[in-house]
Amino acid sequence: MGVNLRDIVPKTVIRLEDLSGKSIAIDAYNALYQFLAIIRQPDGTPLKDSSGRITSHLSGLLYRTSNLVELGIKPIYVFDGVPPALKEVEIKRRMKTKEEALIKYEQALKEGRIEEARMYAQATASLKDYMAEDSKRLLDLMGIPWIQAPSEGEAQAAHVVKRGDADYCASQDYDSLLFGAPRLVRNVAISGRRKLPGKNVYIEVEPEVIELERVLKGCEITYEQLIDVGILVGTDFNPEGIKGLGPKTALKLIKEYGSLENALPYIEDAEFPVEPQKIKEIFLHPKVTDNYKIEWREPDVEGVINFICCERDFSEDRVRKALEKMQKGISKLKGKTTLERWFG
């Protein structure tokens, strides 16, 4: 779910091509979930190969990544490791939502309510281990670097950006900000047209950049206070947050009392599944690693084809075109500099 800070976060809408030349640490699970949810047939059935294996995630990964690289963007995928123990509540909640969605999906399908079936099907999307393995294999063949996070992918992505090894974090969730990501870009993995749930209406989804410093300046709070606001609103470690408390009120409370600890006595029904201090600790000192290598290579065209065309039944024609786009982007990027180098 992620923390909902939308109402208090200043953002700048950009064009995807404005990110040309920039490296972007993409929350891989976040992106893969979106591919699994969105890339489906009209009745909600995911894409599958002839032996029944789901391939929606590979389709999304290949075509989206090649679009990004064509524009000169340098993606790095960051995969989740072992979730922190505190996330258990949220993980159980997600499982329950999926089970319920599955029942509704089958019901809708049986009764011929195709539109609704698709909607429920999207909510059933779950990421199996083989999908992550498939994805890493595809990325290796495409020459795109990926990082295995020891724990939360978003924390690792934020760490990579903090160390200056990437320019932006990409995720739909605002949690990256709580993990201290200096720059977050949303709607990168899935920008373009998106269908509004339950309606036959498409909206244009534009990438937006959110800078931590601007958020803090705009809200007039410190980084630690932003984490406090997040915990009041609800994070993956206390998904419920505090009932009836939205980001604006949470911000007001933290500014008034200075910190979560000081504010708590004044908040009614302040209940947490775990010590709020422990949640804060996860954001302040997440488990991350410096042990990674970021290197973009030319795609191994025949390797990609062998894997997803021969083994997973993708159309060779379309895959070759996507890889050609990538190669064009790579050659365009070669030797590119920005004026900043000469600002001294």
Binding site: K334, G335, F343
Partner: protein, 251 residues
């Protein structure tokens, strides 16, 4: 208070077009002496440095320095509605934060458009020692980049004391365009040392095409693997200069 008047709509339109090549949202510095803008494109490959002193305008009033950010594409749409010799008046309504644009010619049209949050970014001047200085006609430059564009998406610009050369090589075809010193296209050339640098043609050609509408003569300054500075000489006083970062072939 800020307002200005230009009796030739084309002047303003060509200026806005040149700026719109690099930026969508343009933050102008308005001082009692001049209208200025300095901005980089979002990917920070190119920069425009623009300044028109008040003398360029038929009327120019600015009582205190201010910043004004507008969507230059939207402004351009309105400016395109004006005929060549029509009069344009711009005024900033400080109460509403809207820009008022009046086109007066055969009949009078009043438009308003919103201003946006001004950018706080101060763009510095790149620090470069230039070894080559070439003065060329904008027409000659435009022809050269159009030729190069036929075969590639980037071009290498080389110069010694004799000639300025545009060299492009694509997957299949190649092109070499030579401008000799003292020819009609190349008015002057000084090279402290032979230099060469490669640039993206999509930037270079858009800049040269758009800026040539405002100018007949441009001065190019560059050094090996450094950004190029192109100064488009303005008919009236004023400055329109572009910087473009090079592509550096590492292999």
């Amino acid at each position: 208070m800020f307002k200005l008047k230009v009796s030739d709509a084309k002047l303003l339109r060509d200026m806005a077009t040149a700026i719109s090549i690099l930026v969508d949202e343009a933050t102008f510095q308005i001082t009692p002496e001049a209208l200025k803008l300095r901005a980089m494109d979002p990917s920070r490959v190119a920069m425009v440095d623009f300044e028109w002193p008040k003398t360029v305008f038929d009327e120019y009033v600015c009582t205190e320095p201010t910043k004004m950010c507008i969507n230059i594409g939207e402004l351009l749409k309105l400016l395109k509605r004006a005929g060549k010799d029509e009069i344009i008046e711009l005024a900033l309504d400080e109460k509403t934060g809207r820009l008022q644009l009046k086109i007066a010619g055969k009949y009078t049209r009043n438009f308003t458009m919103p201003t946006l949050e001004a950018s706080e970014e101060e763009v510095p001047t790149p620090k470069i020692t230039f070894n080559v200085r070439a003065k060329a006609t904008t027409d000659g430059l435009r022809q050269a980049v159009e030729d190069a564009e036929l075969v590639s998406d980037h071009v290498r610009i080389e110069a010694d004391n004799e000639k300025l050369v545009f060299q492009a090589s694509g997957d299949l075809m190649g092109a070499t365009i030579e401008l000799k010193k003292g020819s009609d296209a190349l008015l002057d050339l000084e090279a402290k040392e032979p230099s060469r640098a490669t640039f993206s043609l999509s930037y270079l050609s858009e800049i040269i095409k758009a800026a040539s509408a405002t100018s007949d003569i441009a001065t190019l300054e560059f050094s090996t693997d450094m950004p190029i500075k192109i100064d488009f000489q303005q008919a009236k006083e004023g400055k329109l200069t572009f910087y473009l970062a090079p592509r550096i072939e590492t292999a």
